[in-house]
């Protein structure tokens, strides 16, 4: 990838009915966006267990983007609201642990919003690029402190 610039690893966990399809649409419409994002699919964003997010960070994700249907549009009626609740608490946990909460982002992107997907992925990738590698976050510094010696 682009040299001498930090290229973050980004994990996308997208719901099958909206955001994953938006990504398909972006593809069909050839809307290019940074290749940093790796997309994993769940049926509903409500399936996203906060453990997945921590697991993602632990496995080297510098940023994680959760994508679900717009409020009221959930294919499963209100799975996305549960996602929202978990997300709001999870951000606080990250903050306390010493991980920049900006590294986790929740977006409502419907099946028709290819552009929005493109825009969000671009923004998010840039934002994370500016934040730098997650290993620089306090939590990981502490975690790896003994290893560094």
């Amino acid at each position: 990838m682009k040299d001498n610039k930090f290229e973050p690893k980004i994990l996308g966990i997208f719901c099958n009915w909206c955001t994953y399809l938006a990504a398909d649409l972006a593809g069909v419409s050839r809307m290019d966006y940074p290749s940093n994002i790796r997309i994993v699919r769940t049926m509903c964003s409500g399936r996203v267990d906060p453990q997945f997010v921590l697991w993602g960070f632990k496995n080297g994700a510098d940023g994680i983007l959760i994508g679900g249907c717009h409020p009221g549009d959930c294919h499963y009626i209100e799975g996305n609201y549960k996602t929202l609740r978990r997300y709001l608490i999870l951000k606080r946990i990250l903050r306390e642990m010493g991980i920049n909460e900006k590294r986790l982002r929740l977006e409502w992107i419907s099946a028709s919003e290819g552009e929005k997907l493109q825009r969000v992925v671009r923004e998010f990738t840039e934002e994370i690029r500016n934040l730098g590698p997650i290993s620089e976050d306090r939590a990981f510094k502490l975690q790896l402190a003994e290893h560094k010696k």
Binding site: W17, D32, S35, R38, G46, D49, A61, K82
Partner: protein
């Protein structure tokens, strides 16, 4: 990656698809194949031009047989496109289809990545994710479900009518639901249809009668969808039959009640005539209405307003069809498939104040002109201004509300053609000078361009330019008393002021204002403009992402009558082919409870949107009714003791996939 236990020997085959140049053009396939071959448990890693082609599938089948593969990964397009194709291939080769995982390296990689190097890296990651995941896959049984053979059609315009007839003719039961008192939709309002200029009612009316008489069609007019429950093959639909205060069965459409109404003549704007004429509180929408039955508008009927009416209408009706105590009624029907044909609405031109609609009485909407030129319309087909004068000059402004980012960005597709039609009819009826103001003439379609030429020969003036404003501000004496159309004529490059007697605004098409409610009821998606979204613009134009729900006509996007009918019959065919399968197999991605783990903490129970989870008092644990489970996994994510789990989306599978993806 985590050790896996008790899964026996794992043998993974990986297949990378070129998709012609779609993938190969961006992704270095060789490199990815090479990379995949080194991943854990991978026995073979191949590439092929088109994996979805027969030879491509054969490749997989043979390897399964010869190399004893028990896990398959195909890296190609979106699973929404071909997951089912490849699962089938596995099945044919005797491998349980759920030991398959797809990596989306086209929509999510080659098509959205500029740099080949980056694309290749990303493709590797996606493949690794799929391999890591598939290792944790296990054989699953599909549950299959009876399909209810009935079909629901929402919307009684030309689309709904055509679809209903096709389905009904095949011997299947159809429930046709129309919100207005009569079916027919917009088309019923037209006089002629372009380009052939054959009479709209002559071709529509017979179809409407067929619907009425068809033994397999149950018609619900003046009705709306209240609630849709269930899923493909087994929808439960609640229909609200709004009270029309006239019993359709008894009414013969003799107009006696209407004549008897205490209002001597019409007093309220007639919806069907776009308010160009007046109707009484009790009325029949139009002469060819189906059903041909009166309806009472409670908003204007004295009986409903004051309760003190002579009810002369009631007395006038020999068949006693009128019933003021009629109430809305909810009917529940069960269907296997749903066709949505809810149509469009026309753009409201008063949103563009500089065109003067609503301020200048001689500025009309095109749909109003449709009524004016219609022989059964308010003026019996005569084109006259509100003050009774015949216009000597008429300006038709195209693209009103269309192709304009201030209003609607899209082209409404029909305006150019219907403007031409109206130009022709107006000229024919009034011999007035007709000016068409257009941005571009768009006449794609059989005989359309020819029609355009015909009009030019007829001497209609075509001025290329977007109209700036319509004003009564007269500068010169000859402008006095007229409407002046200010426009830059881009062909001669000057700003022109053209005084006319009548201005026709060729308004565009918009999604129905309540399209969003329908969308939510049916769990389908809309494009951001609000048109219903098809599953695939080319390959699945009438399907939606919700199995068993199909779309037809202008609710999917602006289109003319020929296209609408074509699409409607296509939707009907899709619905029929679904129904004739008799059974459908459900994705086995349901959740279940591990009884050894569940502590009966009750957390999951309230979270299930389908009430599929309940508490078992004896065993003191939660249990999931898998027939009701739709597989969202919300309970799984919430379960504090990992007792709730979801097939095809086990924690371990997702952990592995995440780990793999973060290459």
């Amino acid at each position: 990656m985590d050790k896996i236990k008790g899964n026996g020997e794992i043998r993974v085959g990986v297949y990378i698809c070129h998709c012609g140049t779609n993938i190969a053009g961006r992704v270095n396939i060789k490199e990815v194949v090479e990379f995949a071959s080194k991943l854990p448990y991978v026995v073979v890693s191949r590439e092929y031009k088109y994996m979805c082609s027969d030879p491509g599938q054969e490749l997989i089948k043979n390897d399964i047989k010869e190399l004893k593969l028990n896990r398959i990964v195909v890296a190609s397009c979106s699973p929404h496109l071909h997951e089912h194709t490849f699962r089938k291939a596995c099945e044919d080769a005797g491998l349980n289809p759920f030991n398959f995982q797809m990596a989306n390296i086209r929509e999510h990689v080659s098509w959205v990545t500029k740099e080949s190097k980056e694309a290749t890296e990303k493709a590797k990651a996606m493949v690794r994710a799929a391999v890591y995941r598939v290792v944790f896959h296990e054989s699953l049984e599909r549950k299959s479900q009876e399909i209810n053979p009935n079909v629901l059609v929402i919307g009684g315009g030309i689309a709904g009518i055509s679809a209903s007839l096709v389905v009904a003719d095949s011997g299947k039961k159809v429930y046709l639901v129309e919100r207005e008192p009569s079916i027919g939709g917009h088309m019923a309002k037209f006089d002629k249809t372009f380009p052939t200029l054959d009479c709209a009612s002559c071709i529509l009316t017979p179809k409407m009668t067929q619907v009425k008489d068809h033994p397999n069609i149950e018609l619900f007019t003046y009705s709306e969808i209240e609630e849709v429950d269930g899923y493909v093959g087994n929808f439960k639909v609640k229909i609200r039959k709004r009270a029309r205060y006239v019993d359709v069965e008894k009414c013969v459409g003799c107009y006696a009640c209407i004549e008897a109404c205490v209002y001597k003549e019409g007093k309220f704007p007639d919806e069907f005539n776009e308010g160009l004429s007046k109707r009484k509180p009790i009325y029949i929408p139009f002469p060819q209405a189906v059903p041909l039955a009166a309806v009472i508008d409670p908003a204007t009927c004295i009986q409903f307003l004051s309760g003190k009416c002579k009810r002369s209408c009631q007395q006038a009706c020999e068949r006693g069809a009128i019933d003021f105590d009629m109430r809305d009624e909810i009917v529940e029907v069960q269907v296997g498939a749903i066709i949505v044909a809810t149509g469009f609405k026309t753009f409201d031109p008063s949103r563009i104040p500089q065109y003067g609609y609503g301020r200048y009485q001689n500025v009309y909407k095109s749909i109003e002109i449709e009524r004016l030129v219609n022989s059964s319309g308010p003026t019996g087909g005569e084109v006259i201004l509100r003050d009774g004068r015949k216009p000597q000059s008429v300006g038709i402004i195209h693209c009103v509300g269309s192709r304009d980012k201030n209003y609607n960005i899209w082209c409404s597709r029909v305006c150019c053609m219907y403007s031409l039609k109206l130009a022709h009819l107006i000229k024919e009826r009034t011999h007035a000078e007709v000016y068409c103001f257009y941005i571009d003439m768009r006449t794609p379609g059989k005989g359309y361009e020819e029609f355009y030429h015909k009009l030019m020969e007829e001497g209609v003036h075509f001025i290329r330019g977007k109209v700036a404003e319509v004003t009564d501000w007269a500068i010169t004496p000859e402008e006095e008393g007229k409407l002046v159309i200010r426009v830059e004529d881009t062909l001669i490059g000057v700003v022109r002021r053209i005084p006319v007697d009548m201005v026709v605004l060729a308004v565009g098409l918009e999604p129905q204002p309540d399209a969003d409610e329908i969308r939510r009821l049916l769990n389908i998606s809309c494009s951001k403009e609000g048109w219903f979204l098809e599953r695939h613009p080319k390959l699945a134009p009438v399907s939606t992402f919700t199995d068993g729900v199909f779309i037809a006509g202008a609710c999917q996007g602006p289109k003319d009558i020929p296209d609408t009918v074509a699409q409607a019959e296509a939707a009907a065919a899709e619905a029929l082919s679904l129904i004739d399968r008799k059974k459908i197999e459900l994705e086995p991605n349901t959740a279940w409870i591990d009884e050894e783990k569940c502590s009966g903490c009750h957390i999951c129970i309230g979270l299930c949107p389908y009430s599929a989870i309940s508490y078992n008092e004896e065993r003191k644990i939660a249990v999931i009714n898998e027939a009701l489970c739709k597989g969202c996994g919300v309970c799984v994510a919430a379960c504090p003791s990992k007792a709730a789990q979801q097939r095809l989306f086990l924690d371990d599978q997702i952990y592995a996939e995440i780990e793999g993806a973060l290459l």
